[in-house]
Symmetry: C2
Subunit: 151 residues, 2 copies
DNA sequence: TCCTATTTAAGAATTATTCTTATACAGGAA
DNA sequence: TTCCTGTATAAGAATAATTCTTAAATAGGA
């Protein structure tokens, strides 16, 4: 799905060295799961990866897909999209605004910025569809988590 | 949690007129659920709202909180944060990039932009914590959904 | 090749969310 | 105001995503 072989090779190499550096075993499952994910750019969920892998690996378990993905996420070898949330969160603020998300505790705070409200939309994005809204998501460590880490 | 009375009044008024316009009954539950959400700015989930309301409304059910929040979301009276996702999605693309999310089908596509990679961070956001990364999320309707709607 | 800590498969368990159904109530009509 | 009726709710069962438990398998070093 739109990933060039050279890019895929690069991702696989980065994955291998990352695993070795972390002292992780290079199991068949980890290699296949990462490769399946790295080969596509449509952000599949665990179930979708699992289905696509079952034909090659009939004994693969869904649990292994989840464990592997979270493990790689913790190592920084992949990312989850948007803020990690245990459940969907809601927001009553209808004004255009932006988010600061704490990577540790999940705290999500709004902020406003006239400048960020008027971002230039790249041609690439227009090619994907009709853009109706834009917002900026900042990720970082909130003050309260910073204090805890400083202990 | 940081919402001024005047802002809360404004939100409540918008909510009331929105319900009436949509022909919805102004039940005690809807008023309380919306008010509880509108009064805070920390993006609670349904469970958190439910707990905070139970003391006033011992017979309130969690299901009603969910139904009400999704209903208000559909009416545009509140928003969910980030892309609606049935399950958490993963991403192997480690380069800085941005997202286009289709509001209809949930399709999420990456795009890159040097310009958007270097956004000015407002002072307000710095005050919330240490900013480590930024990304732009565009919401809209993808080409394929636009075609379906045009039928 | 052998050994052992790590990893996996399988399925049970858990948690968030939605569905089902009988009851309650908002708001219009009398 | 009181009655009526469609809409909304409570309660708990059902479902779906994710995680846990445990016994078996295996990567990689000795």
């Amino acid at each position: 799905m739109g990933i060039h072989q050279s890019e895929l090779d690069k991702r696989m190499e980065h994955f291998r060295s990352g695993c070795i550096k972390a002292g992780l075993k290079l199991t068949q499952q980890r290699l296949e799961i990462f490769k399946a994910l790295a080969a596509r750019d449509d952000h599949p969920d665990a179930e979708a990866l699992f289905s696509s892998l079952r034909s090659h690996m009939p004994t693969l378990s869904l649990d292994t897909v989840y464990r592997t993905l979270w493990l790689l996420n913790d190592l920084g070898l992949i990312n989850t999209l948007g803020p990690r949330r245990e459940s969907i969160r809601f927001d009553a603020n209808l004004r255009q605004h932006h988010h600061f998300v704490c990577l540790r505790c999940g705290l999500t705070r709004d902020f406003e910025s006239d400048l960020l409200n008027e971002l230039p939309i790249p041609e690439d994005a227009h090619a994907m569809g009709k853009v109706l809204a834009s917002q900026v998501e900042l990720r970082g460590i909130c003050d309260s988590c910073s204090q805890i880490e400083a202990l």
